[in-house]
């Protein structure tokens, strides 16, 4: 049984589909990377899984299952018991995602108290263990610090500690290192990877950094303008991208332009609320677009959402 099963998830704000019908699956213990530009809907999709989309956003799906449980049919109380315990999320900006008025220790213990019923000394003990687990030195004194007294990297570790406090089966990390310095990024990534292996969690890593995904993930889903345009196993997808957008993403990596005069960028911008194409969403910007692409939307077939997927070896260089 898959850990997470999503079929045709849609999240709409008014008439604007931030997430426009995506399918994803995640097996237990698997690391799935979701890549895409800002505005691709990757964060919104995962927020919908967590049940954190509020009015005026509307969430709908043919299937939204976690361990066989229908997430759409949960009562608020059932959802609260699930979220923060079996499914947890780590957010991008740890500094603003932690409550400035309470110590970090308190905020971690809160999860322990709410879901595991731990109190007093037992809670404190477990909290300190968690801080050690996320490699925070001198846990005892750090526990009584306030978020603004800790660095960005420290705060992110605290967030991770909070998220894994109840040993979740699924951890969603929404660009966990984007707000951090490059040197700290690697540390946090290693930490997440290690924790995933040790705890046997499924991990969904949302990022716009292809290099990270290439190193860490087993499978990856590429999103554009609210749709998943390609999914595949990691080495294969990067060696032989089948969707023009994936190819363009890879081509835009600075290392691939070594020796050239200009970086290769895809012309145009992501469609906004007003100018959503009626055909394939990438067609206005796609180098390979044909008449059919402009008039109708391709469905996903064999992991690619394209009428004319690129054959291996046919990539333009």
């Amino acid at each position: 049984m898959a850990l997470l099963k999503i079929k045709n998830l849609r999240v709409e704000f008014g008439s604007f589909p931030a997430v426009d019908g995506i399918d994803l699956t995640l097996e237990a213990g698997e690391l799935l990377g979701i890549v895409g530009e800002s505005g691709s809907g990757k964060s919104v999709a995962m927020l919908a899984v967590m049940g954190l989309i509020e009015a005026p956003g509307k969430v709908s799906a043919d299937l939204l299952e976690f361990q066989g449980m229908d997430l759409l049919r949960l009562t608020p109380k059932q959802r609260r018991q699930l979220v923060g315990r079996d499914i947890a999320m780590v957010f991008q900006d740890a500094q603003t995602s932690l409550n400035p008025s309470y110590t970090v220790g308190y905020q971690i213990e809160e999860s322990l108290r709410a879901h595991l019923g731990l109190r007093g000394a037992a809670a404190r003990q477990r909290m300190l263990e968690l801080l050690d687990l996320v490699e925070i030195p001198d846990a005892a004194s750090r526990a009584s610090a306030y978020p603004h007294q800790l660095s960005g990297g420290m705060n992110q570790r605290v967030m991770i500690a909070m998220a894994i406090a109840c040993s979740p089966k699924l951890l969603i990390a929404d660009e966990p290192t984007t707000a951090l310095d490059v040197t700290i990024q690697a540390q946090i990534m290693d930490l997440l990877l290690r924790l995933q292996r040790e705890q046997g969690m499924g991990l969904v890593m949302i990022t716009h950094d292809l290099a990270v995904v290439a190193e860490m993930a087993q499978r990856v889903a590429v999103m554009y303008a609210g749709q998943v345009v390609e999914t595949g196993a990691v080495p294969g997808l990067f060696d032989a991208p089948r969707h023009p957008y994936t190819e363009a993403l890879l081509a835009a990596i600075p290392e691939h332009s070594r020796g050239a005069r200009r970086l290769r960028a895809l012309p145009g911008i992501v469609p906004g609320a007003q100018d959503r194409p009626s055909g394939c969403l990438l067609a206005p910007r796609c180098a390979y677009a044909q008449a059919q692409c402009l008039s109708s939307r391709p469905a996903v077939s064999d992991g690619v959402r394209c009428f004319f997927p690129l054959a291996p070896g046919s990539a333009h260089d």
């Binding site: 979220v83 315990r85 957010f91 900006d93 409550n99 709410a114 909070m162």
Partner: protein, 335 residues
Amino acid sequence: MFSFILKRLATLIPTLIGITLVAFGLIRLIPGDPIEVMMGERRLDPEVHAAMVKSMGLDQPLATQYFRYLGNLLHGDLGQSLVSREPVAKEFAALFPATVELALTALLLAVALGLLLGMLAGLKRGSLFDQGVMGMATVGYSMPVFWWGLILIMFFSVNLGWTPVSGRISIEYDVARVSGFLLLDSWLSGEEGAFSSALAHLLLPAVVLGTSSLAVVARMTRSSMLEVLREDYVRTARAKGLSPVRVVVVHALRNALIPVLTVVGMQTGSLLAGAVLTETIFSWPGIGKWLIDSIARRDYPVVQAGILISALTFIAVNLCVDILYGVVNPRIRAQ
């Protein structure tokens, strides 16, 4: 934390000196000869005039006069009322508790109700309740307080007869003065009906005085609440699967109240100013009414003292608010 308080006090010193200068200069700034201004007469007998000048030390250089004034202040000597010949400080001590009782009750009302209504309005944003509360709040601080008092008197005292029209307690009760706060004293006196009479007399003036502040606190709490509910850490609290009550009360409210604190501090200022008007309407024997009467009677030492004390009270309250803010806001406290 301690150094924080010290720093705050240090910045206050120039302001305090400035206030005393203003109070000191009040009489001398009024156009005309100070003695004539105080006596209210023109063309005094020159001998009397000279004697007065001497006794009041007005022939001394200004600086000396000022330091003499300061010295008196520090001894608690606020001068002498021209009308009653009594020491101002003594009259003031008799009347101040009445104003404090009124202002404090009004403040309590405003803060308790304002926080509650504002919080609920923020949580139910856009609902009929929210719009109703905000609409009433806007009307509430757009009203002239003295008119509001008159209207309520007209309605509750005259038409319905539910509340008394003026004074602090029915004249039939003679309550021994222990604290100066009639609610407390009447309760301590054990006299039948004294406490309820004092309460009935306090009710309407406190409501009138507190209305404007209630409106401001409610609006501020609502907008603060709305801002805080949008913050990332509230989303995190929800992502942790915490109960909605906990998310609101523990995570949101705690941070939403911080800016409201500053507003409450400023409201005490308008409560002081409003007390002047409210006491006049309800014939409430406090320093506000005393101040106004003294202006009409040209009793300038009283006016001088009244201005000084009001300013000092306001400064003191703001200092407390500043300190409280430092305690409550973790970014400052943890330094």
